[in-house]
């Protein structure tokens, strides 16, 4: 039984990791291409979840909800980029932090204004609402497997997009030399809007996917935002590959830490103390991981330059 439990926990870590990847992909692209620190990225996660809850309620279909989360968040991303974000590219990081912090306040209170103070209902359809048996007697939630699949699929898609398509080449060029690319006649403004909206849409999608098994409420984005920052720092800013590896590392460390550390401390302390100490250290584990990575690799695992 212990072996199955361990595998199940590993799968949980993977699922958490792929979700984090969806969040971090946009963040790392926006930072890598436009040099923008976007604290409001978590707000798109929330907007996506609320959009999904709203449309799932109206249409009665979870999948329409999922699709609308993507579209709603993308739409919000486009508007935000044109109205506010565009003016921030040339400002320094601090102004960006302040402005996007202000956006968090606006989005959070705005959503609460529209939807009220209690969490909304969003649940997965009944055909996904159970578990399937995998080889080796492992039982696992269908829906979580679906999240892993979607995450891997999008990772693959982003990899193709950034390395094989024209848009990707432009994005890369923009990352390396901003002046150059505008000289080449690429409409840099539109490119930036597209990248930002894509990031927002992915965040929105992950908000909806996760909102369905957690809760859809105001302020749901900020804890995930901090985690996403941890991910892109570990992976190295601007690198999709880094974000993927970082996300999986963080996901697995957090999940296994919560499960294994209390057990580990049972070797040294009595039961209650071990639980307390173990879970305390577990809640710090990803930050410890990040500090260690940065101490040995100051630009993250796959970071090329120190930004």
């Amino acid at each position: 039984m212990e072996f199955q439990l361990l595998i199940e926990q590993l799968l949980n870590g993977l699922q958490f990791g792929t979700m984090l990847f969806l969040m971090s992909a946009g963040l790392t692209l926006v930072f890598g291409v436009m040099g923008l620190i976007n604290l409001a990225h978590g707000s798109f996660y929330m907007i996506g979840a609320f959009g999904a809850a709203l449309f799932a309620e109206i249409t009665g279909s979870f999948f329409i909800g999922l699709i609308s989360s993507f579209i709603v968040a993308m739409f919000a991303g486009v508007i935000t980029e044109i109205l506010v974000i565009r003016k921030l590219y040339k400002k320094d990081h601090l102004d960006q932090v302040l402005a996007t912090f202000a956006l968090i306040l606006i989005f959070s209170e705005g959503i609460r204004w529209l939807f009220g103070a209690y969490p909304l209902y969003l649940n997965i359809p009944s055909q996904l609402n159970d578990s399937i048996s995998l080889p080796l007697e492992i039982i696992y939630s269908k829906y979580r497997l679906l999240i892993i699949a979607i995450g891997v699929l999008i990772a693959f898609f982003l990899y193709i997009l950034t390395s094989k398509t024209l848009l990707g080449i432009r994005i890369k060029a923009g990352q390396n030399d901003r002046e150059m690319i505008s000289v080449l006649g690429v409409n840099i403004k539109t490119l930036y809007t597209i990248v930002f909206a894509l990031g927002a849409a992915l965040a929105g999608l992950s908000g909806a996917l996760i909102g369905a098994i957690q809760s859809v409420e105001v302020g749901m984005g900020e804890p995930v935002l901090i985690l996403a920052f941890v991910v892109i720092i570990i992976g190295g800013i601007g690198s999709i590959k880094g974000a993927f590896v970082g996300a999986l590392l963080v996901g697995v460390t957090d999940t296994l830490g919560r499960f294994l550390l209390p057990e580990l401390f049972k070797l040294f302390f009595d039961n209650a103390d071990a639980n307390l100490i173990g879970s305390s250290i577990a809640s710090m584990s990803i930050y410890i991981l990040m500090a260690i990575v940065l101490i040995f690799r100051p630009s993250g695992l796959f970071g090329e330059r120190s930004a």
Partner: protein, 405 residues
Amino acid sequence: MIKKTNILILKFFLVKLEEVLRGKIMMKYIISLIAILGLFINPGFANGHKKIKVGMITTLSGGGSGLGIDVRDGFLLAVKGDKHFEVIIKDDQRKPDIAVQIADKMIQSDKVDVLTGIIWSNLAMAVVPAAVKQGKFYLSPNAGPSKLAGKGCHKNYFNVAWQNDNLHEAAGGYGNTAGYKNSFILAPNYPAGKDALTGYKRFFKGKIEKELYTKLGQKDYAAEIAQIRSSKADSIYFFLPGGMGISFMKQLSQSGINIPVIGPAFSFDQGILKAVGDAALGVKNTSQWSKDLDNKANKKFVQDFQKEYGRLPSLYASQGYDTGKLLISALNTADVKNQDKFRNALKNANFESTRGSFKFDTNQHPIQDIYVREVIKEGKILTNKIISTGLKSRSNAYVKDCPLK
């Protein structure tokens, strides 16, 4: 358009401020600035006979604001139309330091007689001891930390809701009645979480399969649920307030685990049930109040609340309402300026509670019945129905430590 006017307004203020700071007409402006400050910090003195000034500190913005809004609405419904009341309401943002500062303001500047409204135990611990020491009454409409029930009790502190352990104790008691032998219990890793599990264990006679502490604010319970699956537990007890509970219930129902669940009312109350959805159906939860409690005060409350606000009342709303009614009853027999008399009037608790029988023990926490409810569907709406009484006339475990008589 909006943006332009806002910029204009901002510019106007800044130009004015600049003039002021240049010293041109400095004194004049500083005086008017201070006057404005005074205006919003100090809204008048209206101290007639038998008036009462109530300061309500509660959570109205950000996560968890639903609870504060319900307490506020319940309280305001209770005192609606009563001309003796002046209520000042402030948002504590769920931050203890902000709550302390608001309490300072209400005591020092607004000169309130009574404070109330705090939802969270950690905020109550920050505000209550200092407030009662400064000679104010504090009526708790929600939090009941053990420290304030035992040695830390105070003659000016009244708890109108419950001692924190109460609902968990009733759940442990229900576990025995239901014949459970082996419980898996979990709560967040913070003081209220530990109190909750202690409360459950105080009354549960079976074995504890595993006691698990999760990270506060954690939303993914896959790792914990996997442990439940691999355990031999025949029942689950959890205390995970707010969004944590919603997440846990949804994920548990998705996992296909079919072990009966018990929880305190917080995760199955009216405001939150809709978000949990059908996953909550059939779950047993413990509460000192329920919408279907059959007494006159409660029927009137449920009806009035729906009429006033267009939604079903929650547990928190009932607590806010009872707090208001208790104050009115005390005010009918004593002036709040006569503290000893007023305190006695409060102690008598001579009001019709929405919970039916209600009285204070010597440590000024309620003695009341705690019920077991089941989540059911009324048409399309999820709500609760009482199925039994978990604990009859339950006081709390800390009375003996409190020196009050």
